[in-house]
Structures are given as structure tokens and as C-alpha cells.
Symmetry: none
Subunit: 264 residues, 2 copies
């Protein structure tokens, strides 16, 4: 079977979906999860990345206090989780299903690395829900479960130790989905503050360097007859920092205090 993104619906309709809408069409399916803690961890992971649809195929124990504890506030995700008897039922209505698996399967599609595949998989969301299917913690997905999917996704890891925790794997896939949805520019919680105060003018910088030079001479650190590139080095240091007005005031205040102390 060819890797599924090559046969995924064209990406152009997806351009009309906002990032949030695209993520809203992602369905996380956990097939036969053993540990309720991992279900909670998956819910938390989903919520941090703006993904909400959780479906569980024959969870061993759910609902469970451990799931609630590990969800750490993602109770809405747990509350909305659908419980199904079969994977077919869990994939109902989805237009595309992706098996997340470490192991290669003889008759399965070649697994694609998460980062490369996710943008194309997300494009499929233009046509409807796209499901990402995770298997049991120990056994992974059964072969027939993988066959039910159009594509295999692989999280690159150390070949000798590939087994990520289920909640961690869900976190990674949701993270890749979020970054793909926002094209590498997801919204940040607050605007970045470029400067705390205005950048210093050239005159202010020069005033500082002159003041610094005077103090270095007065304290005997700098001998103008043997400059040894001291001032160029200091200019380079402070040039890298890009001094702000407020910072020049602080540095010159220190120099003033030194001069007053010396003059006593």
C-alpha cells in the first residue's frame, strides 16, 4: 500500500480551515489502553495543543481516578471521550486514519516520520475528521488494526529503545499537529516585549564608554599608553548586548558611585 498522504485529498480546501478548525477535526483514538493514567495523560496532552476529540476502544479501566488525576485539569476532554467496542466504530465518520506505530509491519504501509507526514495528514482534515490511532502500551497495535488505517506514522527514536510512553507519544503527535496547523507560528500567550526601555542613542552609548574609560584610568586598570585593545573589546561586549537607556543609567550610576567613593 502506498503511503497514504500521496492519496490524501488535495490540500487546497484545507486552506479555508483556520488552524483551530483543522485541529478540531483531529481525533485521537487509543486502542485497548491498559493504564488509566495514560488516558489522563493523553487528555492533558491533547488539551495543551488544542485538540479535543478522544475516543477509547475497550479501555481496560475507564473512567478512573487515576485518569482524572493525570488529566490535571483536562476533565472536559475525559468527559467528552467516546468509548467504543471496536476500532471500526471508533473510526466511524473519519475520512482518514493514521496508525502510530514504532514497529514496522510486513504488510503495513511504510511508516512516515511524524514531522514530514503531519502537514499532509492535517490537509486531509478539509474533508472531515482525521484519526490518529495509538495501540496498547505493551503490544502496540494489532496487525489488523494497522491494516484498517491508510497510513503509518513513526516517531523517530533510538532504535534500541523505541518505546515511548503512550501519553508522551500522544503529546508529540499533538504537538506536531499544532505546529503544522499554525505553520510554525502558533499564537503565544502574550506579546513579546522587545525592549524594556528605549534603546540608548549613540550619544548615550558614547557618554557611557567615555565615563567607563575615565574610571578605568582613575583606578589604574587602564593605561592609555598601553591600550591593549581594551576599549574595542568592551565596545564589542556592550555592542552585543545592545544597551537600553535604562541600562546606561544603571551602568553610569555604578561608575558615579565608584568615583564618589574614590574621591573620599
Amino acid at each position: 500500500m502506498k503511503p497514504s498522504p500521496a492519496s490524501a485529498p488535495s490540500s487546497s480546501p484545507a486552506a479555508s480551515l483556520s488552524p483551530e478548525q483543522a485541529l478540531a477535526r483531529v481525533r485521537i483514538v487509543l486502542s485497548h489502553p491498559s493504564h488509566p493514567g495514560n488516558i489522563g495523560a493523553a487528555a492533558r496532552a491533547m488539551k495543551t495543543m488544542g485538540i479535543a476529540e478522544l475516543v477509547l476502544v475497550q479501555p481496560k479501566r475507564f473512567p478512573d481516578d487515576e485518569a482524572t488525576a493525570r488529566a490535571a485539569g483536562a476533565d472536559d476532554i475525559l468527559a467528552g471521550a467516546k468509548i467504543c467496542a471496536t476500532l471500526d466504530e471508533a473510526l466511524g465518520g473519519a475520512v482518514f486514519a493514521v496508525a502510530v506505530t514504532a514497529r514496522r509491519r510486513n504488510l503495513g504501509p511504510a511508516p512516515l516520520a511524524a514531522r514530514e507526514a503531519v502537514p499532509q495528514l492535517l490537509a486531509a482534515a478539509a474533508d472531515g475528521p482525521v484519526a490518529f490511532v495509538f495501540g496498547n502500551e505493551t503490544a502496540g497495535l494489532a496487525n489488523d488494526e494497522v491494516q484498517r488505517c491508510q497510513c503509518c506514522l513513526h516517531i523517530p527514536s533510538v532504535p534500541e529503545f523505541q518505546s515511548l510512553n503512550l501519553g508522551a507519544a500522544v503529546q508529540l503527535v499533538c504537538y506536531e499537529l499544532r505546529l503544522a496547523a499554525f505553520s510554525g507560528e502558533p499564537p503565544v500567550a502574550s506579546p513579546v516585549v522587545p525592549f524594556a526601555s528605549a534603546p540608548a542613542t549613540i550619544e548615550e552609548n558614547e557618554g557611557f564608554f567615555a565615563h567607563l574609560e575615565r574610571v578605568m584610568i582613575d583606578t589604574g586598570f587602564h593605561d592609555p599608553r598601553q591600550p591593549k585593545r581594551l576599549l574595542p573589546k568592551l565596545r564589542r561586549l556592550f555592542g552585543r548586548a545592545g544597551l537600553e537607556r535604562d541600562e546606561i543609567n544603571i551602568l553610569r550610576g555604578i561608575l558615579d558611585a565608584v568615583e564618589r567613593r574614590i574621591a573620599r
Copy 2:
């Protein structure tokens, strides 16, 4: 404020490090982790991505069966974990420290998104260990812990629900590091002049700040009873510069000269 990786060492020395060697220089520091399960999860996450150096600052409970259980086979990582009393101790020998934080800090460096920053941060591994510092599960990193770091890393997430599980956050950062190390594309060369001398270690930076503080107190410029954010502002200034060993020597030489002059 320019992001700190702009002052990271040029990427060319890093080209001589294999991906495995670069990852071997990554140090994961967990500061005051409350839950041993998260320590285990972090160890497992590290091992899947080929990272092995784990350091714990005052873990609430460790060693612990819960850590072992959640490590799911990453026992070697747990066994090799170093336990420290302070963050300073945990950062000993590292050339660069990165604070992983969701919250903006007023005087901390502007947080960089993980994917963009990691390749340049990994380039710093050419000079020695690069530490990634994660805070307590509930409180995150204390402000003074963030100040100890040269850079802030941010995992993009939903603004209203930013709190990733600690083990999941470690998994994401280690995943980004692994992908960057194996990308085959060298980290983007910084537009800033590369280091002329070796970057100062964290201990050297801290020695300078302590020395500067003493001189500011001795000259009457700084009153520790009314700190007025003076030291955080100075840390931010010099953090932007990314001090080199040679520059620390110059600055401390100036401070020595001031102290000698005062003492006359």
C-alpha cells in the same frame, strides 16, 4: 532584546560532533520535581531520544518505586542521575543553560519557541554540556532559577491551557534535540560575530555577578535592603551579551582595580 542563541558559538565547531556526540552533551535538569513518576517518565523520554545525563535538584522523593515503574526500562538513566542541593551545583561545568518555561518573566530573556531555538542551542554543545532546566510541576521555575539561565525555551501550546506534564515536556524537548542533531542540516549560523574566546562557563558568570554585587554594595550604589530589581536587570543585560571568558576577566579586572583603589 536579542535572543540568546544569537550569541551562541558559531556552528562550525559543532559540525565536528556526530549527532550522538552532540546529544551526549545534553544535560536534563529537573529542579524540585514533586512526583517521582515524572522523574521516571523523564528518564524514559530521554532514553528514547538518545539523551542520558539527568540531574535532579532537591527531588521530593527519589529514588522511588514510582520512578522506576514509569521509567519502563530506562533504569540506567535513573541510576546515573545526579542529585544536587542547588541549581548552581546542577549546572556545574555546563557552558549554556536553557530555562524551559511556559510563563513569561518580566526580566527574563524573551522565550524562544523550541523548534526554532534548539538547533542553535545544540550548536553550543561544541563547547561543552548544554543544560535544559525544567521546574517544579506546579510552580515551574523560580525567577532566580530563570535568571541563572542564558535563554528561555517555550513549548508552543494553547494560551489558556499551557501546563504540560513534566515528563511530556522533557519528551518534547528531547525529541526536538534529536531531530535537530540528526537533521543533516547544520544549525543556522548566527548573524552575530562568533565567539572570539571561549564562552564563559556558568560558574564564571556567577563569579562575575557576585563580584559586581560586592563592588556595588561597597561603593554604596546598591542597597541589598532595597534591591529594586538591580541585579536581575544587570543579569539581563549581560545575558544578552553572552559573556566570553576573556570578557569576564576584563570586567573582573576592572572590579579588582576599583576595590584596590577603594582600599587605599
